[in-house]
Symmetry: C2
Subunit: 341 residues, 2 copies
């Protein structure tokens, strides 16, 4: 399939496939390391579902859903790719780019959600994607990249968050010093549960409509001083995707065998409910996927394995659980100081 694509699309599809390989290898590496250090847990491996779909709403394509369950470190994780074409850009895109109404599209993306077993290990998500709009005459009318990585801890741990943000910032800084501050702020705005007045986690980076001229949505675009080439942006995407592996997996390795009890487990299950609320109520990727006739089981692999909702549960004042609320308020995690690595 990838071999049949025109050169640029093939490059994007290969980027996505490569990120999937790298991520899955990293996750399996953590699984093995934790299984070795643990008396009673076996390493899990990914189950691979390759799919091809005529879809509905004019969307068709192929994908690879890789899901891991009941592992030594991860309770559930998914690392999915999809490479699809559609006859019509979705309304959410046209709202940003009205000149592309009725244009077709090509999209290649990798989407990752990892739910560790241990409540002291944070959940994390990343998504990196390439979009191309196609004019009615078949020519490419626009292209852009989008992506991001964010971290959702259950217990406050400043060192973890500084490592996560620091690693992402270093990858961003290698390409453009404007990236990290802009993408960090965008991430804080995006992963927000309005109905609770709560951030989903401690953020990370988030960006969209990144093209040769700049990035951002129509109401707040940032223009580059000099245009970037496709290759320059591709190199950034590859670095940002790779940085997720280095930013996140060491945190799971660090905490996968931390001691915990019923109290921590119960809090983790309750907080996972917030993750479900965000993904089903707000997440644009989830809505786009479900509305465009995407593969439901691949899209909803992001949902946690076990979740709890209780009415108006409030953590005991002063407890670590109670401290999470303040911790999740947007912070300048790296404090402007030189990056410690």
């Amino acid at each position: 399939m990838i071999e049949e694509l025109p050169a640029v699309r093939r490059t994007a599809a290969l980027l996505v496939a490569h990120l999937q390989e790298r991520l899955c290898a990293g996750v399996v590496g953590v699984e093995r390391a934790i299984a070795e250090r643990s008396a009673d847990r076996a390493a899990a491996d990914f189950c691979v579902d390759a799919w091809a779909s005529e879809g509905t709403h004019g969307v068709r394509g192929t994908g690879s859903t890789r899901v891991l369950a009941d592992g030594a470190a991860f309770e559930k994780g998914g690392v999915n790719t999809s490479v699809v074409t559609g006859t019509k850009l979705p309304p959410s895109v046209v709202a940003q780019r009205p000149e592309l109404a009725e244009h077709g599209f090509f999209a290649a993306g990798v989407s990752v959600v990892l739910h560790p077993r241990n409540p002291h290990a944070p959940t994390a998500h990343c998504n990196y994607r390439y979009f191309e709009a196609q004019a009615p005459d078949g020519s490419r009318s626009a292209w852009w990249f989008g992506g991001g990585s964010d971290l959702t801890p259950y217990y406050p741990n400043l060192e973890d968050v500084r490592h996560f943000h620091g690693t992402l910032r270093a990858a961003c800084d290698r390409h453009d010093p404007a990236f990290y501050p802009a993408f960090k702020a965008w991430c804080d705005r995006y992963f927000y549960l309005k109905h609770r007045g709560e951030a989903r986690g401690v953020g990370g980076i988030f960006y969209d409509y990144l093209d040769a001229a700049g990035f951002g949505e129509s109401d707040g675009r940032t223009a580059f001083e000099r245009p970037k080439s496709f290759a320059e942006i591709l190199a950034f995407m590859s670095d940002a995707g790779g940085a997720f592996v280095d930013a996140y997996l060491p945190l799971v390795e660090r905490h996968a065998l931390d001691p915990f009890g019923e109290r921590e487990r119960s809090f983790q299950l309750m907080r996972r409910g917030r993750y479900v609320e965000f993904n089903l109520i707000y997440d644009r990727g989830t809505h786009f996927g479900l509305q465009s006739g995407g593969r439901t089981e691949s899209i909803l692999m992001s949902l946690p394995p076990l979740v709890r909702w209780a009415y108006n549960e409030q953590p005991e004042p002063g407890s670590p659980e109670a401290q999470l609320a303040a911790f999740l308020r947007p912070h300048d995690w790296l404090g402007g100081e030189p990056l410690e690595r």
Copy 2:
């Protein structure tokens, strides 16, 4: 608060408060009956949270959230009322009634979701509400009722479903023979998970914009042969609400102590995921509540206590779990035969 309302609004608020009382008494009755028959389970009672809110988006009012958890029969249940006014009807209503754009509103409703512990006892939901639009000069510009009850079994049981539908149909038939067939079909259309091609459950009744002239949305209204009075519709509302108690609670009493094991529990938790998906992705009441600055914890009391998502889990062919899919396809449950009661 209720005492200060104009007569018609007070009547609606009293209806809602009365349904809450009746439902809670019924639920507590089941709790006690099951606790008495059980060796190791205690009856739970409702915790009552009365709230008053300035809200946001111009919505303010009072409500009573009654939640029961970890009972003998029910794992979680909520029976909530709210009586609110707003400065502007929500877009979803204006889409149906464009002449009411920019009109204020009054709404009184009761909303119920009950999640039994035993997988052989179905989950059920009901909602009964009164809406009034208010013209800029303060006069009442329109009024209508809406409501419905639906049943979500985990295991197919035809007798249960016939009892549920039969009881609701009997209540409907006492008021208008057109009600049950129309409201049953509407319920099947509404409680549908498009992204899975699955009904949420076996339906029940669902209706909206029921006023003196008829019922239905703007693209398919049914007109009454002769107009009904406010009192006639109020009587129907009261009967329909009461019928939920008789339609549903006996099913829980019947199955609360059925034997079950890990397999049934696991299937129940997975199916509860579908309930979460419906409520967070599609349910208009949930979206209206969250968007209008409603009380999040009261709105999301509908979510099940414990939920499970696994990737692409398929029940074993021929198993009772596998039979559920066919059972959930819309059926003429009462088969046109005389109602057995």
